[in-house]
Point group: C2
Chain length 354, copies 2
């Protein structure tokens, strides 16, 4: 039944241009060609990282991310050091979402021939800073010519105790949905990067910009979630909460209800949004790059997990619950009022984004 | 002493633009920032792949390669399927050069928004073809927007028996230098791709083009070399024999003499070169992308290795010997006549290459 639906989508997609398909559709389409896997593959395409058997006690986590100048970052507001740091952190966050620890990175750079070497040196310095922060070794890479703009690809190897990896696919109706930290902070910071003239107190503006430019990955929180054995699904909030809930619900075969009023927003985010006439909830749902974790847990296990996170100084907030699939993916805008929550998210192929 | 020289180079490089530094200088420059490594890193930056401890019996091999449209390939002569296949084979060849077997790949695509989806589908089909040929699973990836041209990054995990990895760094004066297969074949094929009107018999032209467009990696030969325990240094010939000999000699602290007349050239390569007025030896030394293996072995161990390769139908040819470092890196143009062998090689940053 599911196979039939996929075939239908496949034939439809073949006649579309990439800009219409979008990133999510493309990865899905391509992944249908994958034949049955090697026996050492625990989990292939379709989660934050692949999971591979390495030894009896340890599974490998393997993930890759490409960042492109002018698409994912701009040197008009980001220092090379920040670009390098964030490129590594984005991949580390994928490992965190699987409950593992990061270990070894390979960095590929596509570089315009006349880019000053000090820019590359700054990028590399930022990567080494993040590598040192998270106990990673950068063990190699590739550097090639890319005439028009810089592209940075990070391939990251991590590990997790065998059997403890966190997937998107285990959420069950009745599970509660939590997020760590605050959402929308990175989008607010991006707004300030792109509107340097915005009349906003510099100290608060600096705080918000730093969340966008120098994010942190929730490795410790992911380790606590994996170690608890209670978490049924997890993802990092790299594409906005709406997109991640669609990922979790699709992988788990469920619906969900997210309570808009429960989504944790920093006071400075609300203040900036009010000042510039933006919706802070839209930043949280669709802004992306917060690199917080969203996870689901049976209601009876939630208190233990909340205490464990609190003990590690990881803020954690109940934002909704998992529902049967026929309930769809919904947002409670205020008590008693529900609307479907579209997945529209930070999607790098949409034409309106250049 | 070596450290001092590096510092001097470093300060010189900082004032140069990337186009002057070139790819090799850049990787070296950046790698100097790397702090002492994790204890599970057997070998970090500086060989075909990083070597990591995974379990008692097995080491991981980890490598990445980025290919850029218009720099490394062109759709004017390469089918999308061939581009995908070659992207994976280039990384597989790095694993072969370390004596290991390839296992898991992640593929990042930077894609212009209006690229037809069937092009991407073709690339992916070619990758899956190579993956099936070499027993690899493509376990994930990333797809992002790159406005001007396609970029393909492959990150590949392989493995080798603990202690058996082949490095560039163990060659000793007196060792003999061998290559598998024939060299310059890929460059001859590229010539025909770029000169479709060349008056050359189509059957032979097709053979040469196929070497450029659908190369194979020498995994089996690498396994034989690693299993022998006799090979002192190895590399794949991805950048031309001259560049690889510079790599081996620099890593090993030696010189070498390569005998030009001993370099194995396919008869069709000689014939084409004669017809179009090119030097087939230059194709072998500087053309690159042959994906053969070059390796060094003590003279007394060479016969056993030659027999083992012959038994596996891997052609293998003695092309020179390793010398003390003060002898430099030389080419014997004819018996008794030696010239320095410059490393000038397929270097993607040089301005004359666009």
């Amino acid at each position: 039944m599911i196979l039939e639906r996929q075939e239908e989508e496949r034939s439809r997609i073949d006649f579309l241009e990439l800009s219409e398909v979008g990133e999510f559709g493309l990865i899905e389409m391509l992944s249908r060609r994958v034949p049955p896997g090697r026996p050492d593959v625990v989990k292939g395409i379709g989660d934050d990282a692949a999971v591979l058997r390495a030894s009896g006690e340890t599974w490998l986590l393997f993930t890759t991310d490409m960042l492109v100048e002018g698409v994912h970052f701009s040197f008009s507001y980001a220092a090379p050091r920040q670009v390098g740091k964030k490129a590594l952190v984005a991949s580390i966050s994928d490992i965190a979402a699987m409950g593992g620890w990061p270990a070894h990175a390979l960095v590929s750079l596509g570089v315009p021939p006349h880019m000053p070497v000090e820019v590359l040196d700054g990028i590399y310095a930022g990567m080494q800073e993040a590598a040192a922060d998270y106990g990673i070794d950068i063990v190699g890479g590739d550097t090639v010519r890319l005439p028009e703009r810089l592209a940075v690809n990070v391939a990251l190897l991590g590990a997790v105790e065998a059997g403890q990896a966190l997937y998107r696919s285990g959420a069950k109706p009745g599970d509660l949905v939590f997020v760590t930290g605050f959402l929308g902070t990175s989008a607010a910071g991006l707004y300030l990067c792109q509107h340097p003239g915005a009349a906003f107190p510099e100290e608060e503006a600096g705080f918000l910009r730093s969340f966008h430019l120098e994010p942190r990955a929730r490795v410790q929180a992911g380790r606590i979630l994996a170690g608890s054995g209670k978490v049924t699904a997890a993802d990092d909030v790299s594409d906005g909460l709406a997109g991640e809930m669609h990922e979790i619900c699709r992988a788990s075969g469920t619906g969900c209800l997210i309570r808009g009023e429960a989504i944790p927003l920093d006071a400075r985010v609300r203040k900036l949004a009010g000042l510039v006439g933006e919706d802070p909830l839209a930043w949280a749902l669709y802004g992306g790059e917060d690199f917080e974790l969203v996870f689901t847990v049976p209601a009876r296990d939630a208190p233990v997990l909340e205490r464990a996170l609190a003990a590690a100084n990881v803020p954690c907030c109940l934002v909704g619950e998992i529902l049967p699939p026929e309930k769809g993916i919904c947002l409670e805008t205020k008590p008693g009022e529900k609307i479907p929550l579209p997945r529209k998210s930070f999607d790098h192929f949409r034409a309106d984004e250049d």
